[in-house]
Assembly symmetry: C2
Homo-oligomer: 146 residues x 2
C-alpha cells in the first residue's frame, strides 16, 4: 500500500506535534517550579528509584550521558541532586535526590494535565500503553538493524 503523503496523516508527525503540545502545556506549570521538562522527568525518575547511575538513569529516560551530564550538573548546581563517583569503580557516577529535590518532587505531585488531554481514564491508559508499545517496537527494530 502506498504510504501517506500528507503530513496530517504521518504517525511520526502526530507524535512530534503532540510532544510540542505537551511542552507548551507543561511550560507554564514547570516555570513556577523553575524546572524544564527534562529536568522534571529526571527528578521524577530519581524519586522513583534513587541512586541510579548516569547510564541507568539514561535507560529510564532514553537519553545518554552526552545529554544527561550537563542536565545533572545543572540540577546539582540548583541543589536538587548530588552526583557521587563510586570508589570501587571510579567510572561510575551515582545520582541522588537531595532533601530539596524530594521536596520539589512532592510539590510537583499536584501537576495534572489529565483534563487537558480530553480522555476518559480508560482511554488515557490504553492510549498511553499503545504509544509505549509503538516506542518499544521502533527501538526493537533499530536493534535488529545493527
Amino acid at each position: 500500500m502506498k504510504p501517506d503523503r500528507k503530513l496530517a496523516d504521518f504517525l511520526c508527525f502526530a507524535i512530534y506535534s503532540a510532544n510540542l503540545a505537551f511542552g507548551k502545556a507543561y511550560r507554564p506549570i514547570l516555570d513556577e517550579l523553575g524546572l524544564t521538562y527534562t529536568q522534571y522527568v529526571t527528578i521524577v525518575a530519581l524519586w522513583e528509584e534513587d541512586g541510579l547511575t548516569v547510564s541507568g538513569l539514561g535507560e529510564k529516560l532514553f537519553l545518554e550521558s552526552n545529554t544527561l551530564t550537563p542536565i545533572l550538573k545543572k540540577l546539582e548546581a540548583m541543589g536538587y541532586v548530588e552526583r557521587v563517583r563510586e570508589t570501587e569503580d571510579e567510572r561510575v557516577v551515582r545520582v541522588h535526590l537531595t532533601k530539596s529535590g524530594r521536596r520539589l518532587r512532592e510539590k510537583a505531585l499536584s501537576i495534572n494535565l489529565d483534563d487537558a488531554c480530553g480522555l476518559t481514564a480508560k482511554g488515557f491508559s490504553s492510549l498511553q500503553k499503545e504509544i509505549v508499545g509503538l516506542r518499544d517496537n521502533l527501538l526493537k527494530s533499530l536493534d535488529r538493524d545493527d
Copy 2:
C-alpha cells in the same frame, strides 16, 4: 483519582520517549538525504502546499518564526527552498520549493517506517488519529487559559 507517579505511566513521557524513538529511527534514513527531521517535515509540508508564508507554514508545523526562519534559511542555502518577500506586503515572506527541493521530496516518498511501528493498518490509522486528537485537545485547553 490520584495521578500516576511512575514515569512509565505518564502519557506525556510516552509521547516524549516515542518522539525520541522516531528520531532515532529516522536519523539514518534522513542522513542519506542530508536532512534533519525538521527539515524533512518542512519540505513535506511545502510539497503539500507550496508558497506558504512563514506563519502559514508555522501553523502546519506547530512552529513559529523564531524556529522556522533559521531552518528556512538553511534550506535555502542548500537550494531546496526559495524565500520571497511579498511586494504588496513586505512583512510577509512566502516559501517555495525549488525543483531540487521537489526532487528531494520525491526521493523521500519511499521512506516508510510502518513495519518498524509494529501496527496493523487499522491500528496505525486509529492510533494516529487518537494522538492528533490528544494534541488538539491540549492546544485547545491552552487557548482557553489565555
